[in-house]
């Protein structure tokens, strides 16, 4: 067992090591937050889809993103339902409406402003709601009247919950305005809307028509198709595609099956998620901002760790030069410094992941963003932390190689 010089150096100068660890921790937490936000953006895009029960999705080719879904004719869904591969086909409505924060029971008259907020409104069939989650399906059965809504408890506080923080059981029975009509909260669900909107509610089809009167019910936003067991989604997709949105061969002399441009496209669940992520992470600046944030955090971390390591080396120049004179090769000295770097990364990482996890919960609770610590994020950040420290170590090494034992005499 060789003398663990790297470890001894770190444990000896506790103040400097603490500064280095604080630097590493700061950078690592920054990276964690950026990755968390980016993860939230990604989830924003997909968490409503994740709650829905479908294998294939029909939607308008001019679909932009979740809250700009555009619409297409409802017949397409019924057409698709005629195929033997399809077990179930349902229209699904989603649009942005206006929600007026309900007046609290005990609010003084002059303090109730009745602010209007943009809200995601979902229209489902209460008898066969297209949700995957049991609790959502159960709650949806309450939507027996167009005036009944379920409110998402992830909606922000300015949507007017009674307790001023978030919607809960005590909000059941509260009445307010959604779009042009009055509605009553009949249940509270947990859905989450991410960055697309600050709140969401669920109504039945007629309730949706009341909330978004500009959209006739025979124009739908999504068609959700369930496949029969054992059917390959790609094959089924091709079938549906042929039926509802035939491709027109550009050079074909034969008359096209449909003379109008396709008004519907068919996507598998994987494609839906992929496109939504692409839209939010790549096409909007959001993803880029957070990617940039990761780079900035890395840069800050490298700068701090480099500063600490190079000060350390400068203070021990004589000692390192003595080691060289004794016959220790540069390789050994490099190993010591790189070990110090990796130790800093590992030791700095542990408290950082705990703090970040707490911050995820805190930010998630405060902002309603779906901040989730996944093992992918944990591993990626660990790797980045090690890379960051090793880079700093390598930069500091140049100084070490200048240690000239001839200066010692």
């Amino acid at each position: 067992m060789k003398t663990p010089l790297a470890w001894k150096n770190l444990t000896h100068n506790k103040v400097r090591t603490a500064v280095a660890l604080a630097g590493v921790g700061f950078a690592v937490i920054l990276i964690f937050m950026q990755m968390g936000f980016k993860g939230a953006v990604r989830k924003t895009a997909t968490q409503i889809y994740d709650a829905l029960d479908f294998d294939l999705m029909l939607r308008s080719p001019s679909y932009l993103h979740l809250t700009e879904p555009r619409s297409f004719p409802r017949e397409r869904v019924y057409q698709a339902a005629s195929l033997p591969e399809i077990a179930l086909a349902q229209p699904f409505y989603l649009g942005l409406s206006e929600w007026q924060a309900p007046e609290p029971d005990d609010a003084p008259l002059d303090q109730y402003s009745g602010d209007w907020r943009g809200i995601i409104t979902i229209g489902v069939d209460p008898h066969a709601p297209a949700f995957r989650r049991e609790d959502l399906r159960e709650k949806s059965t309450l939507l027996t009247d167009p005036r009944f809504v379920l409110i998402d408890n992830r909606s922000k506080a300015d949507f007017g919950p009674q307790n001023g923080k978030r919607f809960s059981e005590e909000d059941i029975g509260v009445e307010t305005a959604l779009g042009s009509g009055r509605v009553r909260i009949v249940g509270v669900v947990t859905l989450g809307t991410g960055l697309a909107a600050n709140g969401a509610c669920i109504a039945n089809y007629d309730g949706f028509a009341r909330a978004c009167p500009w959209q006739p019910l025979d124009e739908i936003n999504f068609g959700l198709l369930k496949l029969k067991p054992g059917v390959d989604p790609q094959a089924a997709k091709a079938q549906v595609q042929r039926l509802v949105a035939p491709m027109v061969a550009p050079n074909s002399m034969a008359p096209a099956a449909s003379s109008t441009p396709a008004d519907t496209e068919v996507l598998t669940r994987a494609e839906v998620n992929e496109r939504e992520e692409y839209r939010w992470v790549v096409q909007t600046p959001l993803g880029k901002i957070f990617n940039l944030g990761v780079w900035v955090a890395l840069f800050v971390g490298v700068a701090i760790v480099y500063q600490v390591l190079s000060t350390d080396i400068a203070n021990m120049m004589g000692e390192y030069a003595t080691l060289k004179a004794m016959g220790y090769p540069n390789r050994y000295l490099a190993t010591v410094v790189l070990q110090q770097s990796v130790l800093l990364a590992l030791v700095g990482y542990v408290p950082s992941i705990i703090i970040s996890w707490g911050l995820y919960l805190f930010v998630g609770a405060q902002s309603g963003l779906p901040m989730v610590m996944t093992w992918q994020i944990a591993v990626t950040v660990l790797a980045l932390a090690v890379v960051m420290c090793v880079l700093s170590g390598m930069a500091a090494l140049r100084k070490l190689f200048q240690a000239d034992p001839a200066d010692l005499f």
């Binding site: 000692e319 004179a325 016959g327 005499f409």
Partner: protein, 381 residues
């Protein structure tokens, strides 16, 4: 007969015979600092031989080049011109790997202790033991021994922070010695030490030199430890001004003192004479001087025997045998006469010779000298 005009008698090159291996052989070494117009020569044609087990003290004013020479010997600088052989390796043009390997055979003791603050005294010393791949038990034993010898037995597991300057220096000395180096290079090793621990350190050096054949080169201004030197090298302005084997010089002085003409001279005058003597070597049968030749040199026999033969009327008569410590050749110098006898080596022999001018110069220092001389010569048959 072989003459080594360039090899002074006091270098001690022949005191134990030429067979003792040389740890260091410096020949015609030049060194420069700076580039272009700022280039300044720091070492001028240095020649130096150091034998195995010798303790060499280098002295000289600062800037005289002794540290430069030390760092060159220690492989810490690159040899530019000339030849430098250390432990049998030519350093001029040596590869990096050779140098790293060679450094592991050496022990360095720097003026600054350069101990790792994060390691205890034991661990600091152990850094050198680990590099030498010493077996752990053995290394521990030796580290304990060295630190105890240096009076740090009770501080073995202390960090440098809790050690005094002198104690730190002693830890650094132990680090330089732990791996039984063949060559130790030390820069003012006793500067930070009190008299007692300084003495302990040099005694340890002497033991290592004697028992392990370790060669030690020290730069020091500490007069208290000059007595341990086997050889004192004095440098001035990049030149080796004198390179004196202490023991050999004292031997020469003793020999010279037996010469009645020199018996009254002070030690310093005798040392001056010794300094001017050169080495000559002969094998059996060599004629050292021939009767009738002009006399140029005074001879002192360092080893071997010679026959004194006087040629009278065509018949060669051996009149005497001379051996170690005896001298010949003085008469011709004193009287400016041709040689009055022939000297032939009986065996392999080494002589120390003094030139005529130097010889006369010494004599002129003593007023009574000429008178004495005459009486000496008169008493001689």
């Amino acid at each position: 007969m072989t003459a080594f005009a360039s090899l002074p008698a006091t270098s001690g090159a022949y005191s134990q015979g030429p067979a003792v291996p040389k740890t260091i052989k410096v020949s015609q070494l030049n060194h420069y600092f700076g580039e272009g117009e700022l280039r300044k020569q720091a070492l001028h044609q240095n020649n130096l031989e150091v034998k195995r087990g010798e303790i060499v003290i280098m002295t000289g004013p600062s800037g005289s080049g002794k540290t430069t020479l030390l760092t060159l010997i220690g492989t810490l600088r690159t040899v530019q011109e000339g030849s430098l052989k250390v432990l049998g390796n030519e350093l001029n043009g040596a590869s990096r790997d050779e140098i790293v390997a060679l450094r592991r055979e050496m022990g360095f003791i720097f003026q600054a202790h350069n101990l790792f603050e994060s390691l205890t005294a034991f661990q600091n010393v152990n850094m050198a033991a680990e590099l030498a791949d010493m077996e752990r038990g053995l290394a521990k034993e030796r580290i304990d021994y060295l630190l105890n010898r240096l009076g740090l037995g009770h501080r073995i597991h202390y960090k440098p922070k809790s050690l005094s300057g002198g104690q730190k220096q002693r830890v650094a000395i132990a680090r330089g010695l732990v791996h039984s180096p063949k060559l130790v290079l030390a820069d003012e090793p006793t500067a930070a030490l009190d008299e007692h621990s300084g003495r302990e350190v040099v005694t340890l050096f002497q033991e290592l030199a004697r028992d392990e054949g370790c060669t030690i080169i020290m730069v020091t201004h500490d007069n208290r430890i000059l007595d341990v030197a086997d050889r004192i090298v004095n440098m001035v302005d990049g030149y080796i001004r004198s390179d004196v084997a202490v023991h050999e010089t004292s031997v020469i002085c003793e020999f010279l003192r037996q010469f009645p003409l020199f018996s009254d001279l002070s030690t310093s005058t005798l040392t001056d004479i010794a300094d001017k003597m050169m080495v000559q070597e002969a094998v059996a049968g060599d004629v050292i001087i021939r009767q009738g030749d002009p006399g140029e040199l005074f001879y002192l026999i360092r080893s071997g025997q010679v026959d004194v033969i006087i040629d009278e009327d065509g018949a060669a008569n051996k009149v005497a045998e001379l051996g170690e410590g005896q001298y010949f050749g003085e008469a011709a110098l004193l009287r400016d006469e041709p040689r009055n006898a022939t000297i032939v080596a009986r065996s392999k022999a080494v002589f120390y010779t003094l030139g005529k001018a130097d010889f006369k110069d010494v004599l002129s220092r003593s007023k009574t000298f000429v008178d004495e001389l005459r009486s000496v010569l008169a008493s001689r048959t």
